[in-house]
C-alpha cells in the first residue's frame, strides 16, 4: 500500500493496463457473439457524431466548393455528357418484359444470388471512420431498423466495399474486403468463364489465384464477384495489377488493386 501511495502514477498506469487486458480478453471471447454493452456505446456515439459530422461536412463542402468551382463545372459538363451516353446505352440494353420474366424464373431455378431490385438496397452515410490506423473499418448510420443484419454485403458506386460485421439499431460496423479474412470468388469481367479466388493480403491490397493455372489473365483485367458464396454476382472488385505463376503451388497468382478508395468513402449501399 505504501508503494502504491508513493508511486501513484505508475500504480494507475499498471491498473489501467491490467483492466485493458481483461477487457481485451473478454472482447476476444465475446467477438463471436453480440455484445450489448458495446452496442449501447456505439448507438450513443453515432447519435452524437452524426450531427457534428453533418455540420462540419457542410462547412467542408462549402469551402471546398469555393476553391474548386472550375473543376466542379468541368466535372458537371463531363457528367452530363456521360449521363446522355448512358441513357442511350440503357435504352439499347433494356430487356423486354418477357425476357426479364424468363430470366427471373431461370435465376430462381438455378438459385442464383443477385440484386433483385431497389427494395433490397439501403443507402447509408459513413458516420465514422478510423482513418488513423491502417485497418479499413467504419461505421455507417443505418442499422437493423433499416433491415441491415450481420453479413450483409456493402457496395459503393465504384464496387465491392465489404461486409457488415456488427449491427445495432441505428448503426452497423463494416469491415472492408481488404480486412475481411474470408475468401471471395471472382470472375474476369471480359471472360466470365475464368474463375479465381481473392483474399486480403498483408500489404493492404488484394491477392488471389486463378482456379485454372492456364487461364488467360493479364494486368489491367477487371474482376467481378462470381455469385458463389455470400457476395452477389457482378459487383466489381478491382483491377489486376500483377500476374505471376507460382511453380511450387502450380497456380497462377494475381495481385489486385481494389476499385474502391476506402479512405475517401462517403456513401455506401447495403444489400439486404
Amino acid at each position: 500500500m505504501r508503494w502504491i501511495k508513493e508511486h501513484k502514477l505508475i500504480s494507475v498506469l499498471i491498473a489501467i493496463i491490467a483492466i485493458s487486458f481483461v477487457v481485451l480478453l473478454s472482447s476476444i471471447i465475446s467477438s463471436m457473439g453480440a455484445n450489448p454493452v458495446s452496442g449501447l456505446f456505439k448507438g450513443v456515439i453515432v447519435k452524437i457524431e452524426k450531427p457534428v459530422a453533418g455540420v462540419l461536412g457542410n462547412v467542408s463542402d462549402s469551402v471546398t466548393g469555393m476553391f474548386s468551382y472550375k473543376t466542379l463545372q468541368e466535372e458537371n459538363d463531363r457528367l452530363k455528357e456521360e449521363n446522355e451516353a448512358l441513357k442511350q446505352q440503357l435504352q439499347s440494353a433494356s430487356l423486354s418484359a418477357n425476357e426479364l420474366k424468363e430470366l427471373k424464373s431461370l435465376s430462381k431455378v438455378l438459385n442464383y444470388k443477385g440484386i433483385s431490385g431497389k427494395d433490397d438496397i439501403v443507402s447509408a452515410d459513413i458516420a465514422e471512420m478510423n482513418g488513423n490506423q491502417w485497418m479499413n473499418i467504419f461505421t455507417i448510420d443505418q442499422g437493423s431498423d433499416s433491415g441491415i443484419s450481420e453479413g450483409c454485403v456493402v457496395i459503393s458506386g465504384e464496387g465491392l466495399v465489404g461486409r457488415v460485421s456488427e449491427c445495432g439499431k441505428n448503426w452497423a460496423k463494416v469491415v472492408s474486403i481488404i480486412d475481411e479474412r474470408t475468401k471471395i470468388s471472382f470472375k474476369l469481367f471480359g471472360n466470365l468463364q475464368i474463375i479465381g479466388i481473392v483474399e486480403g493480403s498483408t500489404d493492404g491490397t488484394l491477392a488471389g489465384f486463378m482456379l485454372d493455372a492456364e487461364a488467360n489473365v493479364e494486368e489491367g483485367d477487371r474482376i467481378v464477384t462470381s455469385g458463389m458464396g455470400v457476395y452477389p454476382a457482378g459487383i466489381e472488385i478491382g483491377k489486376i495489377t500483377k500476374v505471376k505463376y507460382d511453380s511450387d503451388a502450380q497456380l497462377k497468382r494475381v495481385n489486385i488493386k481494389p476499385s474502391v478508395e476506402f479512405k475517401s468513402l462517403q456513401k455506401v449501399s447495403v444489400i439486404l
Binding site: S27, F41, L56, G131, W134, T202, K263
Partner: protein, 165 residues
C-alpha cells in the same frame, strides 16, 4: 487538471478523431488527437492522473466504436504514457523542441505497439504496411503537439523565480 476539464478535453478528442478524419481524408491519415493530448499532458503536468484515466476511458470507447477488439488502443496509450514518464526524467519540459521530439518518438512507439497487439491477435498485416503512412502522422501529430504545448505550458509550467541567480 480538473476532472471536468479532462473529461471535456478528451471527449472532444474522441469525437474529433473519426469526424475530422472522415471529412478531411488527407492522404488517408490525419492527426492522432488522443495520443497528442496524452503525450503533451503527461510531459507537462506534474501529476497527470486525470489525463491518464480520461485518455484510457476515451481509448476504450474508441476501440468499442471502431476497433475489431476492445483494449488495444488503451494498452498502447498506457505503454506510451510510461515511455513519456521516462523521457520526462531526461528532457527539459519547458523547451518546445523537446515536446516535438517526444511526440515523434511516441507516435512511432504507439504505432508499433498497436500493430504488435493486433499481430498477436492474428492480424495479417506487416509492420511495413502499418507504418506506411507514418510520415504524415508524424507531421500532423507534431503540429498538433506544438499547438497543445503552447496552450498547456501557459497553465501548467511554473517558471522558476530564481532562474538567473
Amino acid at each position: 487538471m480538473k476532472w471536468r476539464h479532462g473529461i471535456i478535453v478528451f471527449a472532444a478528442g474522441l469525437v474529433a478523431q473519426p469526424v475530422i478524419g472522415n471529412l478531411v481524408p488527407v492522404l488517408g491519415n490525419h492527426c492522432d488527437y488522443l495520443l497528442c493530448l496524452l503525450v503533451i499532458a503527461v510531459l507537462i503536468m506534474d501529476e497527470p492522473v486525470v489525463p491518464f484515466v480520461c485518455c484510457s476511458v476515451a481509448g476504450m470507447i474508441f476501440d468499442i466504436a471502431y476497433g475489431m477488439y476492445t483494449g488495444p488502443t488503451t494498452i498502447s496509450l498506457a505503454l506510451t504514457a510510461m515511455l513519456v514518464l521516462l523521457i520526462k526524467k531526461i528532457v527539459n519540459k519547458e523547451v518546445f523542441f523537446n515536446s516535438i521530439i517526444t511526440m515523434l518518438v511516441c507516435t512511432f512507439v504507439y504505432k508499433c505497439i498497436y500493430w504488435f497487439i493486433y499481430y498477436c491477435l492474428g492480424s495479417p498485416y506487416t509492420l511495413g504496411y502499418a507504418l506506411a503512412h507514418i510520415p504524415y502522422n508524424l507531421l500532423f501529430n507534431s503540429i498538433f503537439a506544438l499547438i497543445l504545448f503552447f496552450i498547456f505550458s501557459r497553465k501548467y509550467i511554473k517558471h522558476s523565480h530564481v532562474r538567473y541567480q
